[in-house]
Subunit: 189 residues, 2 copies
């Protein structure tokens, strides 16, 4: 149950077995169904999630009902509605599992406590933020001036199985193009 999480941590920072155990006790397993909502817009996000199996999607809904997918966390990844989790303000986003999933969740106070008291954990959190920041930047800015074809090639290069695991609609809303355009673009590859 905690194997994947343990590997994640050990591969990124030196850590004592006792600290690892203490971390495990803060994470509790959750099983979810396809399309199950973890938090809805307007709620305050209380948990950080680690994906053992399945996939978490974070997305927003604009006026008119149009969805924008912000982030996907697959096996071995962390995910939460970060702005809300950090500021304890109502989230502007939704978070769901898009497939039947097995997650490990940790609540905010335990999380912050681990960050403060276990250096390796603080280090890993910092690394998550750094990577997330870099990723988001390179995606956002890399996409400036990309046309649809270039965007699709970009995901294929950076997340080869992304288009296979995610529906066209979600993939399109992640890339910032319409489902029709994504469909047409794929046939041009």
């Amino acid at each position: 149950m905690y194997g994947l999480l343990g590997n994640y941590i050990k591969s990124r920072a030196g850590i004592a077995e006792a600290d690892l155990e203490r971390i495990y006790t803060c994470f509790s397993p959750v099983r979810t169904k396809r399309n199950e909502l973890l938090i809805a817009s307007g709620e305050v996000c209380q948990h950080y999630y680690f994906v053992n199996k399945g996939c978490i999607r974070i997305y927003t809904i604009h006026e008119g009902g149009k969805e924008t997918s912000r982030f996907f966390a697959f096996e071995g990844g962390f995910g939460t509605a970060l702005p809300s989790f950090i500021a304890q303000a109502p989230a502007s986003e939704y978070m769901q599992t898009i497939e039947r999933s097995e997650l490990l969740k940790i609540n905010r106070s335990d999380f912050l406590h681990l960050v403060e008291t276990i250096p390796a954990f603080g280090f890993i959190y910092r690394q998550i933020l750094e990577q997330g920041f870099i990723m988001a930047q390179s995606r956002i800015y890399g996409f400036q001036g990309f046309d649809a074809l270039e965007k699709v090639k970009w995901v294929i290069r950076h997340q080869p199985d992304f288009l296979l695991r995610v529906s066209n609609k979600m993939a399109a809303s992640y890339l910032g193009i319409s489902p029709s355009t994504l469909s047409r673009t794929k046939s041009r590859l």
Copy 2:
């Protein structure tokens, strides 16, 4: 010289005067000219910068010479080519001061050392990453599906003096629209 930096830190975390002094000794002043390059693409970024006066811009140049502005740091803000700074890999971006500026710079090993040894500094770095991540996300994803007018209104709301301090060309490349379109859009406000 260190007043602004001191305020920045003290307003965000409790810190002993001695630690503050130790932080100051790691930052050295730099004066730069308009359009002076701090690092060029291909170089490895060795410093983190704090802006006392002026403005830092981080940008990339695509094939064909087209520029994309990624980030602006004004008075009281931090800035660096983060991916390169973190990974010590060649940067894909350029960093420049767009006006005559007064900066405080700290090199990477001092910076990491402060992060590790002064909890308040580690905390602030984490906060910078969190805010940067949130900012980048909201900008990137908020922009999905925005038309030019909405983008311009967005900057005006979130960074009221942005359009006044930055050239149209740079502002346009930050918003992901052409200078012509920005010009036309502003006249429609």
